[in-house]
């Protein structure tokens, strides 16, 4: 055993490598990116030829990992929580095929939306896909749990969802890790090949089997040791904690919690343990990071004898991540004395870097759009989303990956003109290309602007799947050659940029304008690598 200082993300990555991983499949997304990056930089992964190149999106990642599992290998899929929406079709149906080689899907949720557009709780996905879910409270548990997850995945022949939240993914702690790694699996194919052909006749059989298996997943949740029941002397209430909520509870009681506690880290919910807690205490306080999933299940619809407290009755805030302070108030302790917040410290919102090409693109676009009072601009997810803030105020919508292209299409088909999309290069290859095909087929008057910085910028500069091939991709989808235009976003080029944007807005068909200049952050990095 040796000690390492690891982020939760890194503890998960190293645990997977030590469990004999053969491939990680992922699209970058905060707070999950560091899992894949750790494996990309790992000497063990290189030595073992572990696949770790970025996937085009979460769906392609999930499907490739399912193929690896079919071939008998252990595979890992990583994404931020909203990535679960992108891969949902593959994810839910992977419970129907089941796993052959161990398959773990890691979703990193972002309560409080530090870097996300919603607070969705990935545990719901595991629940309705009828898949087991793990939710560790410490980095050390993360390391152990991912290895147990691979073991269970192969024993029960089912993919497993690992759920981390921001404070686990992005917090470091000392982790004791093994010196040895389990060997990788040899290629071997599923024992029941019918299960992997989801024709209705096969799927109906499998559905019955999955429902039967689900009971055994609950047995595992009671016996694998990750769900723990701690006795307490104070009988006024029992507490259920999920994942890292346990840490915030114990922060209040370093000498030991006076209340009985059920620490939940593995799902399906261990119902027998919950009943044991409810038998003796008529008030149950539920603490969970994210949405009140467990609490809602306990509350139900009809009256119960026990009082259930948590996020729904206001004992804890309904939204946002838990904090040691909100949990302190929930267990009825007095707040610690604190200084008043300073009125002098004003908000400092993030901004596009000085010298960034997105800035020059938005400047030129704004100059043109100012002449079209009816124009609507639909943007997308990435650094360039910051163009909504001052001084640019450059667009009207930003929803989810790829929506710029298709929303501009829907608006154009509804009579909006000019209808302009702004999308980054990585977001375009993630989910914009299929929407462009719809636009081409509709012959819609849309102007699709790809602000191409040759990287996935917002998450720290990962490779972008279409670098060097965007013009060919757009032409291949059917955009006319004359209307695939390339501009270089620099102040000296404003006149030319504005001319091109104006011409393509005036064109009554699908145009693509690629504004291409390398991200200044990756440019610096590449320059310093070259000088070595």
């Amino acid at each position: 055993m040796r000690k390492q200082l690891l982020l939760g993300d890194e503890a998960l990555a190293l645990g997977a490598l030590h469990a004999g991983l053969s491939g990680v499949y992922a699209y970058p997304g905060t707070p999950s990116t560091e899992i894949t990056e750790y494996i990309q930089q790992s000497a063990l992964a290189r030595e073992r030829n572990v696949h770790s190149d970025w996937s085009a999106n979460e769906k392609t990642a999930m499907e490739a990992a399912l193929g690896a599992s079919y071939a008998g290998k252990r595979a890992l899929v990583c994404m931020k929580h909203v990535g679960m929406n992108v891969c949902a079709d593959a994810f839910v149906n992977s419970a129907m095929t089941g796993a052959n080689g161990g398959l773990v899907v890691t979703a990193c949720d972002d309560p409080s939306m530090h870097s996300s557009q919603n607070e969705q709780d990935s545990r719901f996905y595991a629940d309705f896909a009828m898949m087991p879910c793990f939710e560790p409270a410490t980095q050390q548990e993360t390391y152990a749990m991912i290895q147990a997850a691979y073991e269970m995945s192969e024993r029960r022949r089912i993919p497993i969802l690992m759920r981390l939240t921001t404070r686990m993914a992005h917090s470091r702690a000392v982790v004791e890790v093994n010196d040895e790694a389990r060997p990788q699996n040899e290629i071997h194919f599923p024992e029941n090949p019918r299960q992997w052909v989801l024709l209705p006749a096969n799927a109906r059989v499998r559905n019955e089997q999955l429902i039967a298996d689900y009971a055994s997943f609950e047995d595992d949740a009671a016996t694998m040791g990750f769900n723990q029941y701690f006795e307490g002397n104070d009988c006024s209430m029992g507490i259920i904690t999920c994942g890292i909520a346990y840490n915030y509870l114990m922060e209040q009681f370093p000498e030991g919690c006076p209340y009985p506690v059920l620490k939940i880290q593995q799902y399906p919910l261990p119902t027998a343990m919950i009943r044991r807690l409810a038998q003796n205490w008529n008030r149950i306080l539920v603490m969970e990071e994210g949405q009140p999933m467990v609490e809602r299940r306990l509350v139900g619809v009809l009256p119960t004898t026990a009082t259930i407290s948590g996020r729904l009755d206001g004992t804890l805030p309904r939204t946002g991540e838990l904090t040691p302070d909100s949990v302190r108030a929930a267990v009825g302790l007095e707040p610690r004395p604190e200084l008043a917040a300073s009125q002098v410290a004003v908000p400092r919102p993030p901004a596009l870097c000085q010298g960034c090409g997105h800035r020059d693109f938005y400047t030129a676009l704004n100059n043109v759009i100012a002449q079209y009072p009816t124009a609507r601009v639909f943007s997308d997810i990435g650094c360039y989303t910051l163009g909504w803030l001052a001084p640019f105020h450059a667009f009207h919508t930003c929803v989810e990956m790829g929506a710029s292209v298709t929303m501009s299409l829907g608006a154009a088909l509804s009579g909006v003109h000019p209808s302009v999309a702004v999308i980054g290069d990585s977001t375009f290859t993630h989910s914009g290309m299929t929407g462009l095909l719809d636009a081409v087929n509709a012959e819609a008057p849309v102007t699709i602007c790809i602000s191409d910085n040759l990287t996935t910028g917002m998450t720290g500069g990962q490779d972008s799947a279409g670098t060097g091939r965007l013009e060919a991709i757009c032409r291949g989808i059917g955009v006319k050659e004359d209307h695939v235009r390339v501009i270089v976003p620099l102040p000296k080029n404003y006149d030319e940029m504005e001319r091109v944007i104006r011409e393509e807005i005036e064109y009554k068909g699908v145009s693509v304008i690629i504004a291409r200049r390398e991200c200044i952050q990756t440019l610096k990095r590449h320059a310093s690598q070259k000088s070595k």
Partner: protein
């Protein structure tokens, strides 16, 4: 023994390097350590912070509770004020005096100084100037780490220097030397 520290500044100033060095220094000391940080959107010129907890007993929460932070270490004076509700009644602030102005409504220096005086227990240093004096202008964050080392009871300056050598070692001995010199300059300045 436990020390809760908030490291803060503006994205790109080098807050996370300070956190990494302290973390490395604590690793082989049989100390418990937790260090929470936020990546992603906040790095684009916005405010950044890292919660760093060091203890000789088990640490539970990754986040520092309000009113418990022993030390705020800030690379930027207004950012030092952002976390006042977290400061313990006997907690200290160590801050750079040089403002990083990238917003139109940045307060006046006088207003910031007055607010810091309200707290009282403050060590203010122009770490940028000190870094320039020792001819390593890009090591202002190491000057600040040096200043913090004067009150980091659980980790000796020698141990932190080993941490600097470890973190910058891959980039060559010259860079290690520059950063250690900046660290020592900060340590000396804080002792005055």
């Amino acid at each position: 023994m436990k020390q809760d520290i908030i490291l803060c500044g503006v994205g790109g100033q080098g807050i996370l390097s300070i956190a990494t060095i302290i973390g490395w220094a604590a690793l082989d000391q049989n100390l418990h350590l937790k260090q929470a940080e936020v990546h992603g959107m906040s790095q684009r010129g916005g405010d950044v912070q890292s919660n760093l907890r060091i203890s000789d007993t088990e640490i539970f929460s990754d986040l520092i509770p309000k009113g418990e932070c022993n030390l705020i270490v800030s690379l930027e004076p207004m950012e030092a004020l952002r976390y006042l509700p977290y400061l313990a009644p006997d907690g200290w602030i160590i801050t750079n005096t040089q403002p990083f102005v990238n917003i139109p409504n940045y307060p006046t220096i006088e207003a910031i100084e007055k607010e810091l005086e309200r707290v009282g227990r403050v060590i203010s240093l122009d770490v940028d100037a000190i870094a320039r004096e020792v001819k390593s202008p890009r090591s202002a964050n190491m000057v600040l780490l040096g200043a913090a080392a004067s009150v980091l009871k659980m980790l000796s300056p020698e141990l932190l220097e080993q941490g600097i050598a470890h973190v910058f070692g891959r980039k060559g001995q010259a860079l290690v030397d520059i950063n250690i010199e900046a660290f020592r300059a900060g340590l000396n300045a804080a002792k005055k």
